[in-house]
Subunit: 460 residues, 2 copies
């Protein structure tokens, strides 16, 4: 459609003329997210407040116009791409931290607060918001909530889901609802809060988030261990758990990824020759607890044959150890033109089987596959790197399908952090039975009877 002038005037009367965009450059800007999916919206609307969101949605419901809520647009599953056109509702103006309540360990924020900004703000008063998706300097809380974002600290601290106490949201029929609240225990009726977390903008538009905070650990120690095989690295993870250490981070980086980073940084070697896996470990707590845990981690890594063991002695050394992990995403571009980024997850004890599967895929399909991720959770990012030819894309597609079959045979999930969106929708029925998908669609119907909210996502 091209939005009729009368409709645009209605939107402008709600948010002001400057906040209704229809020019080509804006439509192009809001046509994609962190993926390669692309579809231009007809109009972009930037509301500033829940009443404006509700008023816009009521018009869209009346006109049966698709509405796609958008945060920072950094998602990795196409969730913010308006594949049926219509309205992109960009929440970029709703970016205020409304309250940091130190006494009640709660923060209240608008959806487009950048995650890293919230972390900085609460850490200044000695509190801690642990969820740390790699995109934390770009992505926003509302998007993190909509996608159920994870990150390295999930093994110890859980994901975004575990910190959402309550929401204000606008239903696709225009009603403003409040779910949950400022309390950490609340069983009054169904937990709509948790249902909205990870619903990928298909059930409601999140306009306010109440987040649980915890005290900031006073000490943090980072270690790095290298191993001659992924199996040894996985044994180290098991051994660390057996030592009753719960690290804040347990990041595994494989040889292909290390190779890419090394080339990206100009060729200097990053680890001893023959390293098949590098593991970054961070422990935190009181100074005494962090020191004790660091000793246990070192003992565990040595016991399974770590080839090298480093411990950061200063903040600068800590940054240096983490540098490898931070350079991963740009570095991977050196391995191939196209990256098929899969955030699969397996029960953590099955990481060796997962890597054996990946080795077979490399051989069978002749593709580069760089892997890194959150070993404590079994959540490994499997990046299939190919060129742009038709043949390369086909091979990548085949590789991904066989990868997913293998992951599901290991009792894993095809997506641990990014959501289904567009990228995983063709594969959802590999993981979920038809009765479960039908039930999810009835839940969608209960929220969105006209199907206007973020249509074309999740379901095959």
């Amino acid at each position: 459609m091209t939005a009729p002038a009368s409709l645009l005037a209605s939107f402008e009367s709600i948010v002001g003329a400057g906040n209704v965009l229809t020019d080509d450059s804006a439509r192009e800007k809001y046509a994609s997210d962190g993926t390669r999916y692309h579809h231009r919206p007809d109009v972009i609307i930037c509301p500033d407040g829940v009443d404006q969101v509700s008023a816009i949605v009521r018009i869209c419901a009346r006109e049966r116009l698709p509405v796609v809520p958008r945060g920072a647009g950094t998602g990795y599953s196409g969730g913010a791409v308006p594949v049926r056109g219509g309205v992109v509702l960009s929440l970029e103006r709703m970016n205020r931290i409304l309250e940091i309540d130190e006494s009640n360990l709660v923060a209240i924020v608008e959806p487009n607060v950048v995650t890293g900004d919230l972390q900085d703000a609460v850490e200044r008063v000695g509190l801690f918001y642990p969820p740390d998706p790699a995109s934390l300097r770009q992505s926003v809380i509302g998007g993190n909530v909509a996608e159920g974002a994870g990150g390295p600290r999930a093994f110890k601290y859980g994901t975004t889901r575990d910190y959402v106490l309550g929401l204000q949201a606008v239903l696709p029929t225009g009603e403003v609802v409040l779910t949950g609240g400022k309390v950490v225990k609340n069983v009054a009726g169904y937990d709509l809060t948790q249902l909205l977390v990870g619903s990928e903008g298909t059930l409601a538009i999140i306009t306010r988030v109440i987040l649980r905070l915890i005290p900031l650990p006073s000490a943090r120690t980072t270690l790095r261990a290298t191993f001659a095989s992924v199996a040894d690295a996985a044994s180290a993870v098991d051994r660390i758990v057996a030592e009753r250490v719960v690290p804040a981070a347990l990041e595994l980086i494989d040889a292909d990824s290390l190779d890419a980073i090394s080339r990206h940084l100009g060729g200097q070697p990053l680890a001893p020759a023959g390293t098949a896996a590098l593991v970054l470990i961070e422990v935190d707590g009181t100074p005494e607890a962090a020191a004790e845990d660091a000793l246990r981690v070192e003992r565990a890594c040595r016991a399974v044959g770590a080839t090298e063991l480093l411990r950061a002695g200063s903040a600068a050394e800590r940054d240096e150890l983490w540098r490898v992990r931070r350079e991963l995403s740009p570095a991977l571009r050196t391995l191939g033109r196209l990256k098929f980024n899969n955030d699969i997850v397996v029960p953590k004890g099955r990481i060796p089987q997962l890597f054996a599967l990946i080795e077979r895929l490399r051989e069978d399909y002749g593709v580069r596959i760089a892997c890194f991720g959150h070993a404590g959770d079994g959540n490994i990012h499997v990046n299939v790197m190919v060129g742009e030819s038709e043949e390369d894309r086909r091979r990548a597609g085949d590789t991904v399908r066989v990868l997913f079959e293998g992951v599901l045979a290991l009792e894993g999930s095809i997506t641990g952090e990014h959501g289904v969106g567009l990228s995983k929708a063709p594969y959802l029925s590999m993981q979920l039975g038809p009765d479960v998908i039908a039930l999810m669609q009835r839940v969608k119907q209960a929220f969105d009877p006209d199907g206007i909210l973020n249509p074309g996502k999740i379901f095959p």
Copy 2:
């Protein structure tokens, strides 16, 4: 209804004659739970396996017969009481621990495994299942999941909800669905797992539970502090948090409760004269971390004027400190014939205002009110104790309503642990707006179009 013989024969053909009960003593036994609500079912069926559950539910759906799933029957909100008659589906035979997967930190259990038994079993292999409702020696995992049960350790470790990774469940239309799985990160579609947690047996019948485990802390230290006012005790809680200690338990017991326990135990004083609040604190972790945290707790309590400070030096001393807490429930019976047990919760910094409100209620309504609970969560059990006269019941009812008004004004919730069931249903609309309740009812409809599953619960 009285179940026709043909229907009973159908049920018997599924579960065997001995597992279909219609005699008066059985109907009486399954007519109530941990509350005073009472209604006899027409028939009790004890299936052993998901296929049997599914087959029974299909018959009930065809016959439009109410089905009420039942675990241990220890609930505090009437959730298992079959107020519309029909079938009580008792899951008592499905009580096996199917798997404790040490490598993947996962347990798989049938619904009627006693919570304390699971804890014992996983602790024997060095793992930990933290949720610890007071009923843990009687209540079962399936019931804990259905009610979203909490407990003292929730401040540090979260509630049952935080440990449920996946479910097998039977829908009210008979389909068997699998939600979630063995992985800790999973964002494939809507989180039906978390929607079923706390759904009070109204959306599906839980037949299998996949639970997350964590490493067992190797050390645990228990402390007891007494205070001359509840405000001082609340300050101690704040101070402990400011010291960056996250205790495993932070239990507050007020003077009326202490008085009851003292009388129950034969009159010996339990705390220094003038004690208005006793706080039990437990810290855990590595031996070093627990020792360090214990010092910080002591410093925090002293700083706000604790009148006495004890630390358990042995397991026997630890048991002695906890004895006061354990004797609470039986002791409260000495205060009045009827106990109206309210599991309200407020943002934790507002505990002093909550206790000021309770003091006003004591004066205005002339009722005994004994309070204890989880100070770290703001989750306080407010027990209104009265006699059995009509006038006493009326006063208790008035007290409870004004209590709930006050709790909601403090941005709290009318139920933090027990669920809505029958006991809170008349009050639900005080907390939730009509749009939210209507949305919950549409979700109920999406699961249970004929309204046969646990009818008459939650909604006013």
